[in-house]
Structures are given as structure tokens and as C-alpha cells.
């Protein structure tokens, strides 16, 4: 008898749909059949572990080969926890973002904005025992995309987290407070509930800000947690 507690179901208000007509790329890529319900087993409740020894951290994205990237230097820090408030220690966070001009160090990004030889926009950090992480970067620029006429993505940083098991896997984007593009962005707006969308926006934090050096933003991640009582499949 396995007594593995499944993860809580994802609450509908925090769950963007597969089919989001305002985000045009979903049109041919969303499933049309009902998903098959499945109670988690060891396959879904376990997941990879990454050690910093084998997967070295890069905690300062703002410097490449000792040279400083252009842009507004920022510190991003916060906690990774589960829905039950338990910290997720020693877990890897992957980070990628555009440069200060809104251009990705990526061959498919053809936006007419300058590349920065001192910025790649790739990082990897690990949480400590308390589930805390911190890294240094520059504020990513906004960039146009072709979803609809005059479409622009808000300032954002991409994140990938693994959590306690494969079903807790999270890839998301962190936004910045007060961005007037947020209420126009179909990707951000695809999250049904306003309160859940707010959880994608970092907070400016003077206590994280380092005088004469960098602005601080706080952003916490909440990953799926185990349900209180183990449920058994009949």
C-alpha cells in the first residue's frame, strides 16, 4: 500500500487555460479533448534533484567576463515555498530574460534593438535551507511581439522551478509593479483571477535595495503542496 499524499489540485482561479483566444499562439496548440483525470503516483510525486556541484549557480547576470551589462541594476530575492507554507530548500531556479533594450540573446529574436555583449540573460540559483534565493541582474526591457497590432510585452523575467515532484513543476514569468502594459498583455491576463495575477508581480523593496548600487525587488514563489490527508484511488 503506497500512502503517498497527492498534491492539491491547482485552484481554477490560478490556472490559465490552454485555449486563450486573445493569445493567438494557443489556437493550434491547445488540446480539445478532456484531460484524463489521474491520481498522483510515485511518477508524479517524485522529481529531479539538481546539485550546485554538478549544476553550478550563476547568481550575477549583470556581469559577463568581468564587464558590466548596460541597464538598471536590480536585486531579485524571495522565498520558494509550497501552498502549505513549507519552504522548499536547496531547489534549483532557472532564470532567463531580455537585456535592458528588450532584446534576447537568441538567434530567433529579430527585434530591432541592440544586443549587449556583456549580457546573456541566463542564470541559475539555488534556494538555501530556508527556501530563500537572491540574484543580481538588470531590469529587462519591454519588447514588441506579433500577437496583435502594436503588441508589447511588459517587463518580465522568465523562471523555471522544479519543486517536490514532477507534478509541481512550474515555469512562469515575474512582472514589475506599475507597468502600464500589464492590463494589455494577453499572457498575463490569461490567469483568470486578479488576485492570482497580482502574485506574478514583484514588489519594490527598499530593504533589499543596496544604496548607490541596485534596486531591490521581492518575489516569492508558491508551488503545489501535498494535500493534508492522503487520498486513495478506489
Amino acid at each position: 500500500m503506497t500512502a503517498l499524499a497527492p498534491l492539491r489540485p491547482i485552484p481554477p482561479e490560478a490556472d490559465p487555460p490552454y485555449d486563450a483566444p486573445a493569445y493567438r499562439s494557443t489556437e493550434k496548440r491547445h488540446p480539445t479533448h478532456k484531460l484524463l483525470p489521474w491520481v498522483h503516483t510515485v511518477t508524479e510525486l517524485t522529481g529531479p534533484h539538481f546539485s550546485p556541484a554538478r549544476f553550478p549557480a550563476t547568481t550575477d547576470l549583470s556581469v559577463v567576463n568581468g564587464k558590466q551589462a548596460l541597464g538598471e541594476r536590480i536585486i531579485v530575492a524571495g522565498k520558494v515555498m509550497d501552498e502549505n507554507g513549507r519552504p522548499v530548500p536547496n531547489t534549483m531556479i532557472e532564470i532567463w530574460q531580455a537585456n535592458a533594450a528588450g532584446r534576447y540573446h537568441h538567434p530567433n529574436d529579430q527585434h530591432d534593438a541592440p544586443l549587449d555583449p556583456n549580457f546573456r540573460g541566463e542564470g541559475r540559483v539555488f534556494t538555501n535551507e530556508a527556501g530563500e534565493y537572491r540574484f543580481i541582474s538588470i531590469k529587462p526591457g519591454r519588447y514588441p511581439w506579433r500577437n496583435h497590432p502594436n503588441a508589447w510585452r511588459p517587463h518580465h523575467i522568465h523562471f523555471s522551478l522544479f519543486g517536490s515532484g514532477f507534478a509541481a513543476r512550474l515555469i512562469t514569468q515575474m512582472y514589475f509593479p506599475g507597468d502600464p502594459l500589464l492590463p494589455l498583455d494577453p499572457i498575463f491576463l490569461a490567469v483568470p483571477d486578479a488576485a492570482a495575477r497580482e502574485r506574478l508581480i514583484a514588489r519594490f523593496d527598499l530593504s533589499l535595495t543596496e544604496p548607490e548600487w541596485a534596486l531591490g525587488f521581492r518575489f516569492d514563489f508558491v508551488l503545489r503542496g501535498k494535500a493534508a490527508t492522503p487520498m486513495e484511488h478506489p
Binding site: 500500500m1 503506497t2 503517498l4 490560478a14 490556472d15 490559465p16 487555460p17 490552454y18 494557443t26 489556437e27 493550434k28 496548440r29 491547445h30 488540446p31 480539445t32 479533448h33 478532456k34 484531460l35 484524463l36 489521474w38 503516483t41 510515485v42 511518477t43 508524479e44 517524485t46 529531479p48 534533484h49 515555498m81 509550497d82 501552498e83 502549505n84 507554507g85 532557472e94 532567463w96 540573446h105 537568441h106 530567433n108 546573456r120 541566463e122 522568465h158 523555471s160 514532477f166 507534478a167 513543476r169 512550474l170 515555469i171 512562469t172 514569468q173 499572457i187 490569461a190 490567469v191 492570482a196 495575477r197 502574485r199 506574478l200 514563489f221 508558491v222 508551488l223 503545489r224 484511488h233
Partner: protein, 173 residues
């Protein structure tokens, strides 16, 4: 209760964090029955999905210093992903049920606001007949969408259809 951080799309530029060697789960020297698993990701028009991140996780063989259990592959211009891994054995299920050998697969891409989860089973495994997940799928064509077919000496192939008449079975997990 803390509110969950919602999912957002991986977008088209995730290759910035790509490490192509992650598609080879045997790269740290794991020994066992080495297989290649490849296939194509196709959209509702049958067009290749050329910018996806395909991830696999397997509970067997157990993850160790030599075997990460986890792999990630990009799809190329034809929508093709390709992994090298060790063939999994059966895995305990809920209750006293055994699950047939399988991998978990997650697909991330531009146009997917959250991952699509599915599983890959292997043709010719007698345990497929009693697998609790496969046996929930009544339509034989839909069931077949989760079963990789042998190709070549040590290869298995499975195509993933995101949408349409041949749509792959995706899981609500």
C-alpha cells in the same frame, strides 16, 4: 494556505537556458538497457512545433549520481525531440497495483500557458494490459497515443499531437 504562483508560457526564447546534453540521461555513466526515445510534436494543423521544450522524468531506474532520471530536449525545425535514457521497469502504483514501464513527459512551448503532461509507455510490454492508467482509456486509438513503438535496434518512437483527430491523451495531474 498560500496562493499558488500561476503558470506562464515558456515562450520562444527558452533556449537561452538550454543545455543540449540534458537530453542524454546516460551522460553520467549510468548502466542499463540504453534506449533512444524520439518523436515529433505536431500542432492542430499537423505542422511541426519547432520551439518546444520536451521534458521527461522517470521513477525507474531510481535517480542517482549516475542517473538523473530527468531529461530535456528541444524540438528542431521538424518538431523532433530525441532522448537517450535507460528503459524503465515497472513502478508501484496506488494500492497494490503495479504500473507498466513508463516515463512522464511534460511539453512546454510558446502557445502553452501551462505544461501538457502525458506518459510514454512501450509497445510489447505485457504489463501494459493491466496498467491502471492505460486501462482508463477506452478508445483504442487514444490509448495507442501513449505507446512508443520500436524503431531500429534500440530506438522507440512516439509522436505527440497537441490537437485534432489524432490528439495525444494528456493528463489532468
Amino acid at each position: 494556505m498560500h496562493g499558488l504562483t500561476p503558470s506562464q508560457t515558456i515562450g520562444p526564447y527558452w533556449h537561452i537556458i538550454e543545455h543540449p546534453e540534458w537530453a542524454d540521461l546516460t551522460r553520467f555513466g549510468a548502466k542499463g538497457e540504453r534506449i533512444t526515445l524520439s518523436g515529433r510534436i505536431l500542432d492542430g494543423d499537423g505542422a511541426p512545433v519547432a520551439d518546444a521544450a520536451v521534458e521527461i522524468w522517470q521513477a525507474d531506474p531510481p535517480a542517482s549520481e549516475l542517473f538523473p532520471g530527468f531529461g530535456r530536449s528541444r524540438t528542431d525545425a521538424e518538431g523532433t525531440f530525441r532522448f537517450i535514457t535507460l528503459k524503465p521497469g515497472p513502478v508501484p502504483g496506488r494500492g497494490n497495483v503495479q504500473q507498466a514501464p513508463h516515463l512522464a513527459m511534460a511539453i512546454f512551448a510558446r502557445g502553452l500557458l501551462k505544461p501538457l503532461f502525458t506518459r510514454v509507455y512501450f509497445a510489447g510490454e505485457p504489463a501494459n494490459e493491466t496498467d491502471p492508467l492505460l486501462n482508463q482509456i477506452e478508445d483504442p486509438l487514444r490509448r495507442a497515443s501513449l505507446i512508443a513503438q520500436p524503431a531500429g535496434q534500440d530506438g522507440f518512437v512516439i509522436d505527440i499531437h497537441l490537437q485534432g483527430a489524432r490528439e495525444t491523451v494528456f493528463l489532468d495531474i
